[in-house]
């Protein structure tokens, strides 16, 4: 379960409203490479992971993405807060204002509502983690484009840079998790009887050497004999 913390992961205090920017940034809320898609993708994939490291990393990054969703929502809210309907219309948000008013609605920059079709869950740990690596890179690229678009406002750029940086860290962690899963799937089949009969110590050593997985501990107690 989750507990709400009444703070943002990174502070956001935007002094000047700018609905034009909000129209673009909302894509990271409910767009194809946005934080909502990221969070749901990881939290859904975690159920099918074969090892503890990848379950943990999907769970914890999925959770952090929820904090990022709140940050992006906050940016959009503060960029449009107190702006008159006329100004919203001038910024291209007339249709948005008509349908959503002052809510922050999960949609892409182009106005497409969020869809679960953005989330890839293939039921295959390698395919899923490769997908996640690509998703982090796509999110990083999107943040870089957004930073280019709002060069004039440091209040907006700073949180966007923080979010961009987190994508880079997540990419790194997913890469490590992927290597762990590949190692685990590449392991030789292990039979307890064989171990007891012939490889009293050798088998333990062999499995210990595979990236710290405790396969030998959990499947075979031969190291105690």
């Amino acid at each position: 379960m989750w507990t709400y913390n009444k703070t943002l992961e990174y502070p956001i205090k935007i002094k000047c409203a700018n609905p034009r920017l909000a129209k673009f940034i909302i894509s990271q809320y409910g767009g194809p490479d946005g934080e909502l898609a990221a969070s749901l993708r990881y939290l859904s994939q975690r159920f099918g992971m074969p090892d503890q490291k990848s379950k943990a990393i999907l769970n914890d990054i999925g959770t952090e993405e929820l904090a990022h969703l709140e940050m992006v929502g906050t940016i959009v809210h503060q960029l449009t807060d107190g702006v008159s309907p006329e100004e919203l219309e001038k910024a291209g948000l007339g249709a948005y204002y008509t349908d959503r008013g002052v809510d922050v609605y999960p949609q892409s920059a182009g106005g497409t509502p969020f869809t679960a079709a953005y989330i890839a869950c293939k039921g295959d740990p390698i395919a899923n983690l490769q997908e996640d690596l690509a998703a982090e890179q796509k999110a990083r690229a999107t943040y870089e484009k957004l930073i280019d678009l709002c060069k004039d406002d440091p209040d907006v750029i700073e949180p966007l840079r923080f979010l961009r940086q987190r994508e880079v860290v997540h990419f790194q962690r997913f890469g490590e998790a992927l290597r762990g899963v590949q190692d685990k799937l590449a392991q030789k089949k292990f039979y307890m009887n064989d171990c007891n009969n012939q490889m009293d110590y050798g088998c333990t050593k062999e499995f210990k050497s595979v990236n710290n997985y405790n396969v030998s501990d959990s499947l075979c107690d031969c190291n105690n004999r």
Partner: protein, 107 residues
């Protein structure tokens, strides 16, 4: 009596040393929150790292240190400025009083 205690702690200086109690309170609040956010961020970053490097003793040690610091500061902050989660017990429901993170307030 407890309320008085909390009231006094809102401002680190005495009434006569600080002529603008509210500003003083806001500054302290902002400073404490910034520090708390740094601790919490360090915990998140270390946790992700430890997920894929569970045997790194140095990271584990840092994680313990930041958890301790975050807990101490978070207890202190909540006593002074109200709850940050619904897990904080109050005599009066103060969850509604503080601004939400998306409001510019002190966040």
């Amino acid at each position: 009596m407890i309320e008085n205690d909390v009231e006094n702690r809102n401002c680190p200086m005495n009434e006569n040393e600080c002529d603008c109690k509210n500003m003083c309170k806001d500054e302290l609040r902002e400073e404490m929150l910034m520090q708390l956010r740094s601790y919490k961020f360090s915990i998140i970053e270390l946790a992700l790292y430890l997920d894929t490097h569970p045997d790194d003793e140095q990271a584990l040690c840092l994680h313990r240190e930041y958890c301790k610091k975050a807990k101490e500061l978070s207890d202190k902050y909540q006593k002074m400025f109200g709850p940050l989660t619904i897990n904080y017990p109050c005599n009066k429901w103060r969850w509604l009083e503080e601004p939400w993170p998306w409001e510019r307030g002190n966040f």
